[in-house]
Symmetry: C2
Subunit: 491 residues, 2 copies
């Protein structure tokens, strides 16, 4: 192995030093760089990561548009007085706000917040736009960046002071309409993970004490990371009427009565990229499902001097066929690198499917297909390559999903007293299900020694403990259990 | 005419009060709202305008990707020390910068600029990424917003303190490569206007004294507005080696010598939306070419009680056919509005093609198609509606382009002395072509009394005065003329 080959390897262990391994994958696969000096907490999203974000955006945006959402764009800054109109929000975000205080060579009369989220500037406009029940439901979404000045250590795509996301904001005539909206978006988030990113997720709600400021219910999709921690992978908030009241969203109903609207908001950030990278990647580097990979296929021709022309011509034909069919394919015909180096490099970069073509393949009218991540190698006919490659994409997606699902299934455990919860979390990580009385105080005895918390509570309909006739008691206080709590450490 | 009908009309005159007319179109067609109190200069981009922006983005982004550009995302903030590394830039933008000075409840040690443009943060990363000639050309682009704190009056999409744009940044091994890049992007900008927005533009370069700070050459596409002013509609800068030097972009060339790269940057903003709205719209409201219209077709069924079922069924069939073919079509079957109101409303909103369907159309298997903006009405067969509608889209585009081209052709005049330039500009507006010595001092005698300036100079190859053998003299100073200058008032 040459020096070059070694540089391509990931030196950290995924299972032992997950954080360091992740940082190394992000850097070596060219996904992100850290921000400039004086701007810790910021990252530069490099083209290969941004291309994944664009595919995720395209997938989700199409779902939004199919279900009545329109995109818009609101100002980057929010006057301090606007933030203060919704006290619950400012209390939630104030310590994390970045403030513009000078502009155009002058001190500003009022500080302007760089948006940490846009409820307080979007809701007043929704209030102007809504007059009649005919204007409802009203749904706007924006793709933008927001800034939250958290002091913790930077972790690209997981913890950054600025992050890319979408934020949707809607108003409805009824509570039921708002609740349906909340769940529609949560289901769409789950679909991004499951159908596009090959990651199973858990759906549920946050405990009341951990809701979005001002929300009636915060729903969440949670994804399990390889270090046994849970990641809040997308949230959809049923805001009830608190924002409508603070910002005066009223409408004249069919019976001409003036009524207060019900609102929702929902967001998914580039944290999805982080969760994706963490879940599937390995010690050879990045692993991506074909649906989001910037390059889906790389064709590597393998020749000696006397076979070069034939091999290259054959390889180019394959690339042309795939390219014409819309497959994202590269031909790696670099002279200065040997095939072994190329294999390593494309594995590092997360190309899902490698096609090797040597003189034997040319002679037999065949192709050797190699899957990322498991290295499974299959010989296929050259004819019908487009169909064949698409079948292999499906197989690779299915393998990734199955592996992630197996991991998740094995990482949900049960416990029924404090010691058991702490012991199980300490030994295995993952999720520990326990009966819970619903009281925040009963999270403390777990949170305090372990830094684990209730990351998710299944929805009422999915939770047998939400029914009246059971005799389970809270794992902590022994009062009647009201719900099942999922304890986990979290990002 | 009911009160409702009157509300739909534009009350200001396009030719006499262009500014007020424009503001009224923007507001009544639901394109943008002004920012909140305390934030003059900011606007809210409403869904119908944002949808146009998305189509423009899609068109341009596809061209970028076809020509080697990759999207990325860089931090929103730039440390003051970074801005200062390229003196020319900070001198250019300093008075317009918005500064973040407090964040996370603390005063920052160094002020952070909200990006006015990103050369000074992107170039240092390009410098890290470029090592060898094999890394070149390197091309990154980002779609984002930037902030420039101008004190002038707000004009949605033309003059706002925050605006959406794309900024591309590239590095090349040779000056020729950088120049080709500059022109490739300028041509793509021209194509956005001409092929998508149905607007002819003039291509050329800015006079040296009006270049982007630090640039060797600033090229521009200029569009003529109905008030006779020119709008700088997109710029592409050949930056030479000044940024490469300031930020140390060097590479080892094929001969292993270490060389300094050549860079470019190029940007197109939502000003394109403003120019689009201004150019084609009229006193009935917004006019859009079909390629960017959020709704391309509206079908208006016209019925009496006894014909309602037949007319509606027929109309729904037409809508289904168009919808399936990917045409953006709405059915306006509102009961509470009469056809006249609907016509006015869709005209206000800039729907390019209206299809009217009454009992006669049903009986004869026909459709009545009405073009926006000229109201031309054509009866066509119901069969083959998709093809027919597409043909009408082409006709509407062609009409819009031809009208704008005729206007532009008539608004380029010649003059050969100062009095003539001032008189022609004063009487007609538009562009006045005059021989020019190349000296900034010779712009002053026009700029000072008239607020008109040299907005564009044709490229050397397009300008007979750039050749040696002519005997024209500068219209102002009578020295030898070096180039043709286009004088105009500008936005």
């Amino acid at each position: 192995m040459s020096d070059d080959d070694q540089e391509l390897g990931i030196t950290e262990s995924k299972s032992h030093n997950t954080g360091e391994w992740y940082a190394e994958v992000v850097q070596k696969a060219g996904l992100a760089d850290y921000g400039p000096e004086g701007m810790s907490g910021f990252i530069v999203t490099r083209p290969r990561a941004y291309a994944v974000w664009e595919r995720l955006q395209g997938f989700l945006d199409a779902k939004f548009k199919d279900t009545g959402v329109q995109n818009a764009y609101f100002p980057l800054f929010i006057p301090e007085s606007y933030l203060e109109r919704e006290k619950d929000i400012v209390e939630g975000f104030d310590p994390e706000v970045a403030w513009v205080t000078e502009a155009g060579n002058k001190e500003l009369e009022e500080r302007l917040a760089v948006r940490p989220t846009s409820e307080s500037i979007i809701t007043p406009y929704i209030s102007q736009w809504v007059r009649s029940h005919r204007d409802l439901p009203l749904r706007v979404n924006q793709w933008c960046s927001v800034v939250r000045w958290e002091a913790t250590e930077t972790k690209p795509f997981f913890r950054t002071k600025e992050f890319l996301w979408q934020e949707g904001h809607t108003a409805h005539a009824t509570a039921e309409g708002a609740w349906d909206e909340t769940m529609t978006r949560l289901d769409q988030y789950a679909s991004v993970y499951e159908d596009l990113l090959a990651m199973p997720v858990l759906k549920g709600q946050k405990p009341d004490h951990d809701k979005f400021p001002g929300a009636e219910t915060t729903t969440t999709v949670e994804a399990l990371m390889p270090d046994g921690k849970s990641v809040q992978a997308g949230t959809s908030h049923h805001l009830g009427q608190s924002f409508a009241e603070a910002f005066d969203i009223t409408f004249s109903d069919e019976d001409e009565a003036e009524r207060l609207a019900h609102t929702t908001s929902w967001g998914l950030s580039w944290r999805a990229l982080g969760a994706l990278i963490m879940t599937h990647s390995d010690e050879q580097g990045l692993v991506l499902p074909p649906g989001v990979a910037p390059e889906q296929v790389v064709v590597v021709p393998i020749w000696q001097e006397d076979t070069k022309d034939d091999v290259l011509e054959y390889a180019e034909g394959v690339v042309d066929d795939l390219d014409e069919a819309g497959v994202r394919v590269d031909l790696d015909d670099r002279d200065e690198r040997n095939p072994g180096f190329k294999f390593n490099e494309h594995e590092l970069n997360g190309v899902p499917l490698r096609i090797e073509i040597g003189p034997h393949e040319v002679e037999d009218g065949e192709l050797t297909l190699v899957h990322r991540p498991d290295g499974e190698s299959v010989v296929e006919d050259r004819d019908g390559v487009v169909e064949t490659v698409r079948d292999h994409f499906d197989e690779i997606y299915a393998k990734l999903y199955a592996a992630a699902e197996e991991t998740l299934d094995g990482e949900v455990r049960e416990a029924d007293d404090r010691a058991d919860i702490l012991g199980t979390l300490g030994q295995h990580g993952g999720y520990v299900k326990a009966p819970w009385c619903g009281d925040e105080a009963c999270e403390e005895p777990i949170k305090e020694p372990m830094a684990a918390e209730i990351v998710m509570v299944p929805f009422e309909d999915d939770d047998p403990l939400a029914e009246a006739d059971h005799d389970e008691t809270c794992a902590i206080c022994d009062d009647d259990a009201e719900r099942t709590a999922y304890f986990a450490k979290s990002y």
